[in-house]
């Protein structure tokens, strides 16, 4: 499954970049994140709980590794999460483009989802991932606006 798009963020790419590396800010961009800590130079670990509608929130263990890091332009997030209901893993390419007073965040995520959630929720995966990305980017925008004042 591929999800891609562009989203406007306040602040210059350098400022956005530094905040995107902050686990507290990164956690805001991933709805349902309960904990997220930096465990290495380019590595974050945590847990998230995702529940949609009638589905009781299920906890997932989450590991994020950054590769191809080209500050302050682009990086790739390798995402690996698994929980009782299945797993999601893949890569998300993030590119920051300066424009006006702000930054355009371009993203392209290629995700594989498996296990029970994929078997039973196949028809909803695209809608759910788009909704989570939209909510995450909106939260990120608010967080950046608050921090960059």
């Amino acid at each position: 499954m591929i999800v891609e798009g562009t989203y406007p963020l306040p602040g210059k790419p350098e400022a956005v970049w530094d905040l995107l590396m902050d686990p507290d800010v990164l956690a805001k961009a991933m709805p349902g994140t309960r904990t997220l800590t930096r465990t290495g130079p380019d590595r974050y670990e945590g847990t998230m709980a995702v529940g949609i509608g009638p589905i009781t929130a299920a906890e997932f263990d989450l590991v994020i590794t950054l590769t191809d890091v080209m500050r302050p332009e682009s990086y790739t997030m390798l995402i690996d999460s698994k929980g009782r209901f299945g797993f999601a893993r893949g890569a998300a390419r993030v590119v920051l483009v300066a424009g006006g007073d702000g930054t355009a965040l371009e993203y392209r995520a290629d995700l594989q989802v498996g296990g029970k959630i994929a078997g039973l929720g196949q028809r909803l995966l695209d809608s759910v991932s788009r909704m989570m990305i939209r909510q995450g980017l909106e939260a990120l925008q608010r967080e950046l606006a608050a921090r960059l004042g």
Partner: protein, 292 residues
Amino acid sequence: MKPPPFEYHSPTSLAEALAVLADRTDAKPLAGGQSLIPAMNFRLAAPAALVDLNRIDQLAGITESEGRIRIGAMTRHRAVERDGRIAARAPLLAEAMPHIAHPQIRSRGTIGGSLAHADPAAELPAVMVALDATLVLQDGAGERRIPATEFFTGLFATALRPGELVTAVEVPALAPRTGWAFDEFSRRHGDYALVGVAVMLSLRGQGRCDRVRIALLSVGDGPVLAGSAMETLQGTRPTPEAIREAAERAAREDIAPPSDIHASESYRRQLVRVLTRRALTRAAARAAGARP
């Protein structure tokens, strides 16, 4: 599979049910159980308690007054499907009912359950948006009424507050010179629709569209009102060209459909184009007095 353990409450009055729901924030109301019980059996849903609404007689039944038809939340789909007043006064609803899953599911599933569940592929939310229906909600503090367009807020998300129940839905009775049409496409009958459309269309004096409502299902997080398609037809004669233009705008501008293993985004847009054209054509003919 079997569900995880849960506490079971079986109230016989609405007041009693609302009291339990106010007390137990981890409880889920159980209506027909055609979505909740499978989710529990697959252990995707694990509510700590269920409040079974099936013994509350006052929640079921269809009544008509002052140009509005009120359908109690626990009215079974099958009862709506077979009701003569619904067929005569809310024919869009009657036309949509056979598309809901299979007869066995319709015999058990309820109208309130389907609306509260708010599945993006469900027929009834789109029908209620097309009809401009009103949802009647109640909690311990009292009753409130909310238009269907405001009730559906996202993917399986509604304006229901914790502890609040849908108690009824009210649909306006069919107005004069008004046509209707429901259509959907699924690969096998009874499967979730890849795309569906519900249309209400009223004509005025010179055969121009006075009021058009087009609601689409399975193309977004919830029912989607095709605003630019509706605008295209407003105040114009529903000629084949105008209908074609409206259907085109619905497919291009009004939706951002998902891609999944069942249908790609572009295939869903094509289905919207074709089904909206067919539904508008049928609704316009009915509004002009053609036999359905």
